[in-house]
Point group: C2
Chain length 484, copies 2
């Protein structure tokens, strides 16, 4: 920065920059707005073109504006980077506990599909980002061209073409899988459910990282399992040493980890740590269930690797779905059960025989037509843009001491509010105003994260949604102030 | 009969009747063939019109031929009534056992959707009997008219209109249900699965009747449950005294019964016995899961009542689906959890969040259009016709000592073969010849029914299928003869 300040125009560009920032602050300029052209601003402010250019470049460097080729500069969605929530190493001993947040989770989940609640609470993706028209066209084609097949049972493992397409898709993770190693499930939740049911009995201990996707915890509670919780850090994901310590102290039956853009803290466990964790668990023959549902929504150029990449013993069970990338209502996901194929096959067969045929066939057709890769590219860009915009709105409307994550993928933000804010109270008050959020306490079975909330960034930020964030920000301030 | 023999034409009609029977026996006349007109046969045999008429009426009375209005007499599918398998009161004590037939069941289930295996093994319904065209049209309409909704998550409970339609449909059973008491599932198997998981823990005792639908047993095995088995009688279904005795001797956590056209023996438990069983279980507060998946396929004019009709305490959990009546591949079923709504709701939510949206909407539309009732009428007639035809073929091709059920509904026949026939051996030998059957042993966890097989009657009896029955009949004879 120093060298910029000391260039030909001296400090004058800083003045220009500040002025732009103020206009963004007071709402004269909004995210997505185009900045005045260099020429126009130069003449209006009586400064050189180079000065304005310098200011714009600096704003770009800070992530406040962005240059669009052959168009000019635009206000980016984020301009004030709030700090990330720090990694909280909880002092509780590593003892198994029972999850008991089922009722609250149920209330949170009621937001699914509700049109009268702003969709920050449930991790859905906006319809405008999903290729619903193309998918529905595939569905229509499938039932027109193979009307009888579409109405019949699929094999228990699922549609073969779909499994073949998934096998080709996951090659990107650095793994080779054959269609015969894949079982189609009714979404990722079912994949997790049948994996856990195949590998555990009530009372068994499961190792998870917290904050953890609350449906994990709901599932553990439902299956009568006990959780040992280690910390997930927003910046660095899962620490292999924590895993080693936890499995040495407890009779862990299975782990469930979300290494790529963990829901809710968006953390990415580095590939080197993944290798290390897989090795540590392989030593003790502990199966590892990995939730990969967000892995395809990476903002960087490369898809992060999965645990499965490093698996040599068939101990890693990968679960994923198309619910975040194509259509949640189609209920199409998959599981790669590794060495547990037979067990998991039987659990799937006794759960619902097979997954619905028409939607499986439609997704298979969509993938076979080669449309998925291009769509994912657009989807990633769209979600990243929405997330930046949400970060901007949080920085604008939430109290200054709020901390918010800077994920490199996924579609949710994780906010640490003032320590005095009770997220359950916050949740109900927001709901009263028609706004869904996910309260921090549901992301652990031990009442950690009492002052955290998760915000879904899956939807384009309309005026209504912006107003919602404004209300949420104000509410955070009010509760911090009113709490004794 | 006596008064018929003593009528004006004396005994002459018996000669005519016998001649027709012989022609059916030797294949001159086949099921579905039209008998000669009264006038033609009368002139050919030199007997009076009244004599031929008398013979035809007698054949009709015996179920060998049928009169079709304004058309004449036709050979019915069945003409030689083989005896029903008697009710076997097994001498084993009422002790819980673990089901262990998973691998064999898996092999049987591999017949699902296989085009190279004749479909007697798996209880599917032929596509020509299902309104697949109309359903697919509904599906196309739904995704054209509400493209976005079809791609989104449904609520956990399922599509409201579908639940409303189901509530109206079940009124026929003599129960009133509101949409709020219904949860949509991915087929009846899922309904049974989540009901059992909500109400039991591994090691618990479940009371079932045998022969029992093998997917019950597969499910029990998978969930680590133990079964206490009482007998289902082909003629009279479940005996309330057996239920009383079983629950007094064992700590039964839950019962699963199939009162209306039990799969595989087709038995119908009388409504009075249903009332009695519900009362006996209510005394001990034992929940009763009833599988109603065949109840709509009744050959008599009225739908039999369900256990739920007599339930006053919310202890009856009804499970059913559209897999036998509309389209199995749509995976749409339902559960009415009674007083266990909350528990079962949570298990459903953690299993797969919700059932696929497009197929739910399509079925809802189909029902809303008022098409279901008329379709069921045709379906019942079609399946009854196929079952009569299958009974006829069994009587024609199987050894004389074979016993076969005479169900009043459902779509399967249950055959008792010579005591020396090992049904597992039989199963594999049939499979080698491309014919699926379900071997008797999978219908109990105690190796009962070793010499029984189940035949599916869901498909129109083509020449290929008839040849298949011929092979099966011969195989039954061979194995009875060759066994030591």
């Amino acid at each position: 920065m120093v060298e910029l300040i000391e260039n030909a125009d001296g400090f004058r560009y800083v003045v220009v920059e500040k002025q732009i920032m103020e206009q963004i602050h007071d709402g004269t300029l909004n995210p997505g707005d185009k900045l005045p052209s260099l020429r126009k601003l130069s003449s209006r402010l009586h400064v050189g073109l180079a000065t304005v250019n310098q200011a714009y470049l600096e704003l770009e460097r800070k992530g406040v504006v962005e240059a669009r080729p052959r168009s000019g500069f635009y206000v980016r969605s984020t301009f004030r980077k709030m700090p990330e929530p720090p990694c909280r190493q909880h002092s509780e001993p590593l003892v198994p506990t029972k999850a008991t947040r089922g009722e609250l989770i149920r209330t949170v989940l009621k937001g699914v599909g509700r049109k009268d609640i702003l969709p920050f609470g449930v991790a859905t993706i906006g319809q405008e980002l999903l290729p619903i028209k193309a998918l529905n066209r595939m569905l229509t084609t499938v039932i027109r061209e193979t009307p009888l097949a579409a109405a019949q049972y699929e094999s228990i493992e699922g549609n073969f073409e779909l499994r073949r397409q998934i096998a080709m898709h996951v090659i990107e993770e650095g793994v080779t899988a054959s269609p015969e190693e894949i079982i189609i499930t009714s979404g990722c939740q079912e994949a997790l459910n049948i994996a856990l049911r195949a590998l555990t009995r009530p009372g068994d201990i499961v190792l998870i990282t917290v904050p953890a996707y609350y449906c994990f915890l709901h599932l553990l509670e439902n299956l009568g399992l006990r959780a040992v919780e280690i910390s997930s850090c927003p910046e660095s994901g899962i620490n292999p040493d924590d895993v080693r310590r936890a499995v040495s102290m407890n009779d862990v039956k299975v782990c469930i980890f979300n290494p790529n853009f963990n829901n809710p803290d968006g953390s990415l466990t580095p590939d080197e740590a993944k290798r290390d964790i897989v090795a540590a668990l392989a030593e003790k023959n502990i199966p590892l269930i990995e939730d990969e549902v967000y892995a395809d929504i990476h903002f960087g150029p490369l898809r992060p690797l999965s645990f499965r990449t490093f698996d040599r013993k068939g101990l890693v069970i990968q679960c994923s779905s198309f619910s975040k990338t194509l259509a949640p209502g189609y209920r199409v996901g998959w599981i790669m059960p590794g060495r547990f194929f037979n067990k998991i096959f039987h659990v799937k067969a006794t759960t619902n025989i097979c997954t619905a045929t028409p939607t499986q066939m439609a997704v298979a057709e969509y993938l076979r037509a080669g449309l998925y890769r291009r769509h994912l590219k657009q989807l990633r860009a769209g979600i990243e843009e929405q997330m930046r915009h949400m970060q901007y709105l949080v920085s604008r409307y939430f109290p200054e001491d709020t901390k918010v994550t800077h994920p490199l993928g996924g579609a949710v933000l994780w906010l640490e509010l003032d320590a005095k804010v009770d997220s359950v109270d916050y949740f109900y008050r927001a709901l009263e105003q028609g706004i869904g959020v996910a309260p921090g306490v549901v992301f652990s079975s031990q009442d950690k994260f009492a002052n955290y909330i998760r915000l879904n960034c899956g939807h384009a930020v309309s005026q209504d949604l912006e107003k919602g964030i404004q209300v949420l920000g104000k509410l955070a301030g009010t509760l911090a102030f009113s709490a004794k």
